[in-house]
């Protein structure tokens, strides 16, 4: 029998090692696997390279992971938020590295990593500072730059419902980076709002097929990041 279900967020993240590359789903708070991130804070792995579109809000979730000095490098498209100075402060102090990637290039690099594509060409960022040092090549009269696929040791993502085989469906715009991160990571760890038997998700409506999912933890009532931030909460 296939059993990908873990009893706790702690056990699901227990082997994330120092120096690991960790993709974390979510666009802002939508889709952010906050319970898995907090488990990673408890676990304490250090010098992580974290891939996320942003750098978190307030002092919970991803911002708390950064504040806890567990992240050596962020790969993201938009490290500024209206309500967090955690990343900016560390960045200005030279205590965290930043690889800034245009959002669509970030998404495509992750998808390429998951699809076995080591590199591809894109017109995005040609002629801008973000293209500096990158190979430029002309196809059919237009300039493109080469970008590399991006893989990770682990992905932490959140979904609406998971079945026993690891098939996932999401909720609205909380889907965002999760399906491609699940593809790009060696070990994909999912916090699911509900866990059901195989066959309860319509095969036509599966968004992430179970082949991309390694571990599932049920988190039936996940915290809402913006409420924690509004309440001035911090983690741990």
């Amino acid at each position: 029998m296939i059993n990908k279900h873990y009893g706790s967020v702690a056990s699901a993240v227990a082997d994330i090692h120092d120096g690991a590359t960790v993709m974390i789903g979510g666009f802002g708070e939508a889709g952010s696997p906050i319970e898995l991130i907090h488990a990673l804070i408890d676990h304490g792995a250090k010098n992580l390279t974290v891939v996320n579109n942003n750098t978190g809000s307030g002092h919970v979730g991803l911002a708390a992971l950064i504040e806890n000095k567990q992240v050596g490098k962020m790969i993201c498209s938009f490290p500024r938020t209206a309500n967090s100075t955690v990343f900016p402060d560390l960045y200005r102090a030279g205590e965290i590295e930043l690889e800034l990637v245009p959002q669509g290039t970030l998404a495509e690099r992750i998808r390429a990593g998951g699809a076995g594509i080591p590199a591809f060409y894109t017109a995005t960022s040609v002629g801008t500072p973000l293209a500096e040092g990158k190979e430029v090549r002309t196809f059919d009269g237009r300039d493109y730059i080469m970008e590399r696929g991006l893989k990770a040791d682990f992905a932490l993502i959140k979904c609406q419902q998971a079945d026993r085989h690891g098939n996932l469906i999401y909720n609205k715009t909380a889907r965002n980076f999760a399906p491609i991160m699940a593809m790009a990571a060696t070990t994909t760890i999912v916090q699911a709002g509900a866990y059901v038997e195989a066959g309860e998700i319509d095969p036509e409506a599966v968004v992430t097929p179970g082949i991309f999912v390694d571990r599932i933890v049920t988190v039936a009532a996940p915290a809402q990041e913006s409420l924690l931030v509004a309440a001035g909460r911090s983690y741990p």
Partner: protein
């Protein structure tokens, strides 16, 4: 160079003017700020589908207070709604729509636009700034038509329409048309061409507030 006695278009009027150029059936991505307002002014009878790069086609208006869903947001991370016929998808598919030239129109803000269509709207290049680009570079490289809505000058009165951008670029030669508080200006092979002036605004007034030579469009003579 005082602008006190001459107001030109306000933010609403700028959005309203841009909205006239959104055709029926267009797939449109609206940037944060004034561009967001365009949606509410699209003329009646036109059905426009709004794309938000975080994975939604068929974005609707802002929800009623109390109806917000933290998992239904736009690229500016504000709560939105969906229209009937909406579709959700992941980020790689969303930017495939952008990069693959499937989005018809994107309306964006600007820090500077050069007469060759270069756009700078993501960074001042200040050494202590936290660089953040989001999806701006993808949008300008991929969307078929890029419109800019911006105040004609900065708060300090500096022209934003220039011969060459001094800020780091978002994209090269990407802007088609600019809607400012003073005029509607096309980017042409010959440079900036003023095709419409705000009420009470003269061509010379706009020229005086622009960092490069303007061309008077034929339309202005009418």
């Amino acid at each position: 160079m005082s602008t006190e006695s001459v107001t030109g278009w306000n933010r609403e009027a700028m959005a309203k003017r841009a909205a006239l150029d959104i055709p029926n059936g267009a797939y449109v991505n609206l940037g944060i700020g004034i561009p967001e307002k365009v949606a509410q002014y699209v003329p009646e009878g036109r059905e426009v589908i709004y794309h938000t790069e975080n994975g939604l086609l068929g974005m609707g208006v802002a929800p009623e207070p109390g109806q917000e869903d933290p998992e239904l947001i736009n690229a500016g991370k504000k709560p939105v709604t969906t229209i009937p016929g909406a579709a959700f998808f992941h980020h790689a598919d969303s930017f495939a729509m952008i990069r693959g030239q499937h989005i018809d129109i994107c309306v964006l803000g600007a820090m500077q636009v050069a007469e060759n269509g270069d756009l700078a709207n993501w960074s001042t290049g200040a050494p202590d700034a936290i660089p953040a680009v989001g999806g701006a570079m993808d949008l300008v490289a991929g969307v078929k038509t890029i419109y800019v809505i911006t105040q004609h000058c900065t708060k300090d009165g500096e022209p934003k329409l220039v011969s060459q951008c001094s800020y780091p670029l978002t994209g090269q030669g990407v802007v088609s048309r600019i809607y400012t508080d003073l005029a509607v200006i096309d980017v042409t092979a010959a440079g900036f061409e003023v095709i419409e002036l705000a009420p009470g605004i003269s061509f010379d007034y706009v020229q005086a507030r622009t960092g490069t030579r303007l061309i008077a469009g034929k339309q202005l003579a009418a």
